[in-house]
């Protein structure tokens, strides 16, 4: 696009921009919208166990909302793609299982252990944060694979070997449901804090142009590390709570690449970088996924693949992102 056309576009918008005199009001409306979204989420999920024993649909919806939201911390706000995100999910599941089953600790402590394990591994991998672009994605993918192999090499007495662990003694889906609810609220709170805080500004600057951010005083490695720690804690908790909910842990499903893929796709479908992006994306695509699975059971992976391709080619900024681009005067109201 040439300078001239850009100028005219700006000019055309100027009356609108100029009428927007009060920046405080803008951020106020933005907060209101976000508050409304969070309230809706609470109202939608909180009372479910009172009405039905069929918790799974809503449970997994919360799971994907949390995964997509926390994925947004690194991808949307810090601009890098950990393609091995599933590693933390798997570590969380195994930490929970091992602490509960092998060491006999109560579930809440096991879950705290899962979060700690996730963060610990995240910190261990901190040196990879200096990698750029696709290198980071590949390394993190390799780490997920390595993690799976390491667990499979550990004594079967601890990890249950290739069969995995069955936590039948802990079966309490309603409690697990509320645990997931709390994790989701935690992720939303963390997201809110991240986007409103100065850390969030630094992260988005890094995402947009890492070198330029450095040149205006942003300590890239340290800033990323903070987001990274937050982004590793939530999938670990999610993996742990999911293990508690299904009571079955095994290597194949704990380290299934589709977990990463879905986190990415759900977050991107909504729009990376917006708080509401992952929420819109996860609820829309999760709903579609359910429909596909009901009506075209044998075609679901095929359709998932087609959706990913179509999304990346036609709507690379996601639903919210495309909306913001099309109606740029509303962009400032989107949390």
């Amino acid at each position: 696009m040439s300078d001239e056309t850009r100028e005219t576009r700006i000019e055309a918008q100027n009356p609108l921009s100029a009428s927007q005199k009060n920046p405080e009001k803008t951020s106020h409306i933005k907060s209101l919208i976000w508050g409304g979204v969070v309230t809706l989420i609470i109202l939608a999920f909180l009372p479910v166990p009172l009405f039905t024993t069929n918790l799974s649909f809503m449970f997994y919806m919360m799971l994907w909302l949390t995964m997509a939201t926390s994925f947004n911390f690194v991808a949307g706000m810090a601009g890098y793609m950990p393609f091995g995100y599933v590693a933390f999910y798997g570590i969380g599941a195994y930490a929970t299982g091992v602490l509960y089953k092998t060491f006999g600790l109560p579930i809440p402590i096991a879950l705290a252990g899962a979060a700690a394990a996730g963060v610990a591994i995240g910190l261990l991998l901190a040196p990879t944060l200096r990698l750029k672009g696709v290198y980071f994605g590949i390394v993190s993918l390799a780490l997920a694979m390595a993690m799976k192999l390491i667990i499979s090499l550990m004594p079967a007495k601890i990890t249950g070997g290739s069969l995995g662990l069955i936590l039948s003694g802990a079966n309490d889906p309603t409690m697990a449901y509320y645990a997931m609810f709390i994790v989701l609220l935690g992720a939303l709170a963390a997201g809110t804090w991240l986007s409103m805080s100065r850390l969030g500004i630094a992260l988005r600057a890094i995402r947009d142009d890492r070198e330029a951010a450095e040149v205006v005083g942003v300590n890239v490695v340290r800033t990323r590390l903070k987001a990274w720690v937050m982004a590793t804690m939530f999938p670990s908790l999610v993996g742990g709570v999911e293990a508690w909910y299904t009571n079955a842990i095994d290597l194949e499903s704990s380290f299934n690449l589709l977990v990463t893929a879905k986190s990415i796709v759900y977050a991107m479908a909504g729009g990376l970088g917006f708080l509401v992006g992952p929420i819109v994306g996860a609820s829309a695509l999760y709903g579609i996924d359910q429909l596909i699975w009901r009506h075209f059971p044998t075609l679901n992976l095929l359709i998932l693949g087609v959706v990913i391709i179509a999304l990346m080619l036609l709507l690379p900024r996601g639903i919210v992102g495309a909306f913001a681009q099309r109606f740029s005067r509303f962009r400032r109201f989107i949390p």
Partner: protein, 235 residues
């Protein structure tokens, strides 16, 4: 005062800077001329820490900048712009400026006030909530300049500030740069191959050629220097 002493930078076997020495006194503008590939941008990258110098010394007001990461150099008071403006495209103009003020320990009100001042100065205030990617190339250069100026730097490195800027914006830009030493109190290193504006703005001029300093002096002396004439007009 910026002091660069015998700065050397090599890439593998290729020498990009072969011992550059210069000083930029406080509240002055140093123009740096030179053709493509003469090492101008490499020198800027060494000063602000994007590249690690192979040898030599760089100091600002007596504090060595060698071995410091770009964000640390920025904290020492060195701001820079790029040949192709590098703004944060998916952030609003206000947020673009806020990035540079993150570590200054300012209140939100102070940040807003400083940002408003500089956005007015570069005539972008009315677009403050727009995303930076919506700006024209020239406006992006102005935004980039405002983004370093909010942090109240001691030294500003400008890499080809006029490249691709339409004439009316260029005038605005020249006006702002001209005022900077006195009004803001910072010194400027102005790298360009646009002779006219460099001659007009600079207190002192340095001509680089193939990694060396070819000539140094005021505008008049440079225009008469036979080496410069030969390098520019060719043998």
């Amino acid at each position: 005062m910026l002091k660069v002493d015998q700065l050397v930078k090599t890439f593998g076997g290729m020498t990009a800077l072969a011992g550059i020495s210069l000083t930029v006194p406080d509240r002055s503008i140093l123009g740096v001329l030179g053709m493509n590939g003469s090492g101008k941008t490499t020198m800027l990258n060494c000063i602000n820490g994007i590249y690690e110098a192979t040898a030599g010394e760089i100091s600002l007001d007596g504090v060595s900048l060698i071995g410091k990461a770009p964000h640390a150099v920025f904290s020492e008071g060195v701001g820079r712009t790029f040949q192709v403006p590098r703004i944060f495209p998916q952030m609003s103009l206000l947020e673009n400026l806020a990035v540079a003020l993150l570590n200054k320990g300012l209140s939100n009100a102070q940040v807003a006030e400083i940002s408003a001042h500089w956005l007015n100065k570069v005539e972008l205030y009315r677009l403050r909530h727009n995303y930076a990617e919506e700006l024209s190339g020239g406006q992006q250069k102005l935004l980039e300049l405002a983004r370093i100026m909010v942090a109240n730097p001691k030294l500003v490195l400008l890499d080809e500030p006029f490249a691709g800027v339409n004439p009316s914006l260029a005038l605005l830009l020249i006006g702002i740069i001209r005022e900077m030493p006195q009004e803001v109190g910072c010194s400027v290193m102005l790298v360009s191959h646009d002779l006219t504006s460099v001659y007009e703005l600079s207190d002192n001029i340095l001509v680089m050629h193939e990694g060396h300093v070819l000539a140094e002096g005021n505008a008049e002396a440079i225009q008469k220097n036979p080496d410069v004439i030969e390098a520019y007009l060719g043998a």
